[in-house]
Symmetry: C2
Subunit: 250 residues, 2 copies
């Protein structure tokens, strides 16, 4: 068994805000006030500030000196940006994965795809996505490119926000999704670099299309606060319940 270090306070706070952003409880463009957050979580502003810096690194939050933090807005240009970059980076990961993966790596990767297939058979959506995530993570590790891993992991929450947005609107079945993954895996297993990379490209290009379409559909719902920043002031006080239950120190 491997033990994992307890998350630091700023990490926990970041996690909390991150989830709120991904679930659109904090809307794109909405401004974030440190003092309010600190009061809500019953901590001082220092760890909140650290947390916001972390989220800035993950591009979920934009900070301007002396003006504070805003949830990153969702313009078409931005989403296009995000997917194109993610695509380029994951294509690179796929390439390096075919070049550097060991037989053990490939075996582990293959297992995650088998798990995913099984999940689809059982129609277990959650298990499918877990396996898919596992698959991606294992490929990434097999690429043995530490910086690339960090950078993709940093972008992941931003992608997850988009997935949350598109989730209800996406038409393709789990099965279709799985097919692409299985195809990609097949290329990986046989070390077919070009086709593995191309499969990633295909997958993410499709994802981008879905995201852009969804944005058109749900634009007014999501972005109303971006256009009218005044209503972000948060007049209505929320019930102050501390969401950080599992904190011991402090």
């Amino acid at each position: 068994m491997t033990f994992i270090a307890a998350q630091s306070l700023p990490e926990q706070i970041a996690e909390h805000i991150r989830e709120k952003i991904i679930r659109f409880e904090l809307k794109p463009g909405e401004s974030i006030r440190e003092a309010q957050l600190a009061a809500e979580l019953q901590v001082s502003r220092s760890p909140v500030r650290e947390a916001l810096k972390m989220l800035e690194k993950q591009r979920l939050v934009e900070q301007t000196p002396r003006k504070g933090s805003k949830v990153t807005g969702l313009s078409k240009a931005y989403i296009s940006s995000l997917y194109n970059i993610t695509c380029a980076l994951i294509m690179l990961a796929a390439k390096e994965c075919t070049e550097k993966s060991t037989p053990e790596d490939l075996k582990k990767i293959n297992q995650t795809v088998l798990n995913a297939a099984d999940a689809v058979r059982r129609k277990d959506i959650h298990a499918y996505y877990t396996s898919f995530f596992d698959f991606s993570l294992n490929c990434l590790k097999a690429a043995r490119n530490p910086l690339l891993e960090e950078m993709i992991l940093d972008l992941l929450p931003s992608v997850r926000r988009m997935q949350y947005l598109t989730f209800t609107l996406r038409s393709e079945s789990l099965y279709e999704n799985l097919q692409i993954v299985e195809r990609g895996n097949a290329y990986l297993q046989q070390g077919n670099r070009e086709m593995a990379v191309e499969t990633v490209n295909e997958y993410l290009t499709k994802e981008k299309e879905v995201a852009l379409k969804t944005l058109d559909a749900g634009r007014d719902l999501i972005n109303q606060r971006m256009k009218d920043p005044s209503i972000t002031a948060g007049k209505e006080k929320k019930s102050i319940v501390n969401p950080l239950e599992n904190r011991e120190s402090l």
Copy 2:
């Protein structure tokens, strides 16, 4: 005339440390103590901490909770990582530049190349690099991809550190360098996406080779502190001169 907002204190501090890292005054792997820096610059630890977080976003510094900050080490794997990623991102930028640039963009870009050529004729190395930087920046802006611009700009200091390292050891002349730039520009001007992208690839692959070779040559000089962290303790007190001269507020 356009006025530019004064840099915030953390930005100035980050700038200061950044330069030290790029010039190897702070060695790869060396640990950074907040209190010492704060004393050196005669500020409190808060802005220093912010500065370190900024540098972490630029991958010049690695932070581990409760253990502090270290200058990012220069392993071969890391450098390879860095160049491959930078290459992938700039290739994307080149692609989007050919797709989205306006005639005015192209005109401006072309001008920077003319300036660079002129600098080479005058054997003005500094002017050449300034023009080259201008060229890159203009291409990046023409790609109209805000996130990509940010990400590449964030990686730039890390690349600059490598350039500093390779500067003395590189054999190719300014002229050779210029030739590739002129070739890339030609492809851009005629909207030849494939070849523009390929030229970027060629350029950065070459840069990567140089960097890796240089590392072999200068490894022991540079990395001695990485292997023996004890001597990073900084027993010798440096003369305390405030390098932040142009601060007015505070």
